[in-house]
Subunit: 204 residues, 4 copies
Amino acid sequence: MSAQETKEKILKISLTLFSRRGYDAVSVRDICGRVPIKESTMYYYFRGKREILQVLLRRFEEKAEGLMNRMERELAAPWQPGTGFGDGVTRGFFEEYLMDEFCNSILRLLRMERENSREFEKIYDEWMFERPLHFQQKIFSALAERGLFGQADCAELAVEYYAHVFLYTERWLMCGELTEEKKERFRREAGKQIARFFRDKGVV
Amino acid sequence: MSAQETKEKILKISLTLFSRRGYDAVSVRDICGRVPIKESTMYYYFRGKREILQVLLRRFEEKAEGLMNRMERELAAPWQPGTGFGDGVTRGFFEEYLMDEFCNSILRLLRMERENSREFEKIYDEWMFERPLHFQQKIFSALAERGLFGQADCAELAVEYYAHVFLYTERWLMCGELTEEKKERFRREAGKQIARFFRDKGVV
Amino acid sequence: MSAQETKEKILKISLTLFSRRGYDAVSVRDICGRVPIKESTMYYYFRGKREILQVLLRRFEEKAEGLMNRMERELAAPWQPGTGFGDGVTRGFFEEYLMDEFCNSILRLLRMERENSREFEKIYDEWMFERPLHFQQKIFSALAERGLFGQADCAELAVEYYAHVFLYTERWLMCGELTEEKKERFRREAGKQIARFFRDKGVV
Amino acid sequence: MSAQETKEKILKISLTLFSRRGYDAVSVRDICGRVPIKESTMYYYFRGKREILQVLLRRFEEKAEGLMNRMERELAAPWQPGTGFGDGVTRGFFEEYLMDEFCNSILRLLRMERENSREFEKIYDEWMFERPLHFQQKIFSALAERGLFGQADCAELAVEYYAHVFLYTERWLMCGELTEEKKERFRREAGKQIARFFRDKGVV
DNA sequence: GATGAATGAGTGTTCATTCAT
DNA sequence: TATGAATGAACACTCATTCAT
């Protein structure tokens, strides 16, 4: 195994364990035993347990930032007739963010660690609430501009919409193993609520 | 301090710490240092750290069970004209459950620990999702019976309704200290969404 | 072995090892292995390795302070004819300070640790140079007052006198094991120099 | 940087750190981080950390031996009228030995390490006491031969003389950083004592 | 010449728990 | 009731060293 691979494996396994049991409850022994390397080898790649966490968080913020930007650009592009406008970005947000193994794990980890640290509380709040809500609001604004949606307070609509997404996210995506079965259940139930939401708002 | 008082103090302090930092991150030293008693004294009252947690959980289940039963009985009682039907139970659910210090702490603890244990995952799911949803469905059924609410799929309505409650619960009641300010914010924002919900459904 | 005895034994063994090898080079394992207790037991008596050192230092400062005070009082007392004035205090300084096992060990430890810490440098300087020189100056003043010694700059005389004491202290008392043989050699050689010193100064 | 330069840099930095903190307290990481090279590179130049120390010691012994021999030769040379006989060698002993950065560092290192090792204890004793005393005795013999000094037990005189040098050496040259200020203070205070010494002995 | 990758032994320290008193 | 004294197992981390490249 090459050096880069070893480092990646440490990161991958650490995230898996951190997201399941929380940062503190995972020991360096646990991580290294699964790579497998000796504990002292870990200190060749990282300055300490803490640094693993920091690298993971930095990567997450970059990835999430990139994803959000990409989706905003897609939103600005002209509407492709024949597809529900905004379907693509919604699917992107679900599949590449909430259900993406890496992002999902980080969000779970943050949800646990926010209790111990103001910094993590802030990051969790940003990426679980602020950004998604803000993004959803933009979608509704874009829909309204194109006349697909009645003019309304987009911020409030975003909250109403996101509440359903969040409930199902918490229920199916953020606990236990992220199985295909759970993902499917999330898609189905959240999809149903979303459909109802648009029907209620008079969108065809 | 009497024996009973000591035992209660151990439980109270343990819950406070567990709900903030998680079960594993709290040491017997932490707990006993705050009571204050010597660590070995704790083993006179409890078989071990684990038992403290079990006693707390048992109490919670009894208390929550009792609360739900009491509210269901209230729901069955004839409607007091002049008050919004169901207002009392809703207020009860908010004030005596989600915002009650004991229940709130347990729910936070469960939310953390469910990652480590199937058992806790089950309990959390039951008391954060299953029971509240089931209970909310009963409210809507009761409202429909009394003609205050159009006939509809009460289960689906319950989900739609509870999604908002849950979002605000997660955002304001389940992180950081449970201050009066946060409680007030929850009451206000959740209340607004609930009002909108009933308006949309044609309930006066 | 009683608790108090255990604590004292930890202190005694720690000092022995610290004074030989230096604080850092002595491990908690080393100390506990010789007591003998398990390492975790040490943490019942002391908050950490550092605290052992602090307790030892505090005791030394108290003891040395007490000794200096006692000797100053003796100096103020009327001269017992038939004995060399000041002989008692000089003997006290040698036997109960420089050659006392506890004080000797602490001084050796301080001599090593002063390289690592300004605090220790200060304490060493105080108890190896400042205080002894100041004390010796007082002896010469007292001798001069009683007419046993020509008036002179007592501070300079103290330095001249103490230089010999210090040389022999460093050479025989502050390295390797403090054997009776070395002590005897110190007494003899330092005594000779002291005698010569007084002879040179015209004291009978 | 050439291989030879790298090796010298390793030695120089090692000595600086060893003399400040002691051999054990300095890690290979510390040394290599300051060179800078990778730890593994060090093992190309030296068989291990221990060998660095041995090379330094060997060099010191050669250098000190050379210095002593040179000074003895100077002593045997005919007296240059107009200068205090022996001034040159005394100055040489101070400036090129006690205050020379390399020799000073080695002596400090030896002073620390002699506690851990018989071998170092011997070397320290030799180069801090035996040789200087022996050398000083030769100076006095030479002075006496030339009639500049009353016949006396040169060995005893040497001890008396060296005691002062040693006290000031320990106090100003062997702790903390070896600044110009400290050197100057040493020259001044030791010089004063030496002058007094010769005055007392009737040397003009 | 120099290093990237790895390791076994050891560091000080915290942990939940036991048990005689 | 309560505790003083003790412990084995685990913790994150540092160390000098090795060896293939």
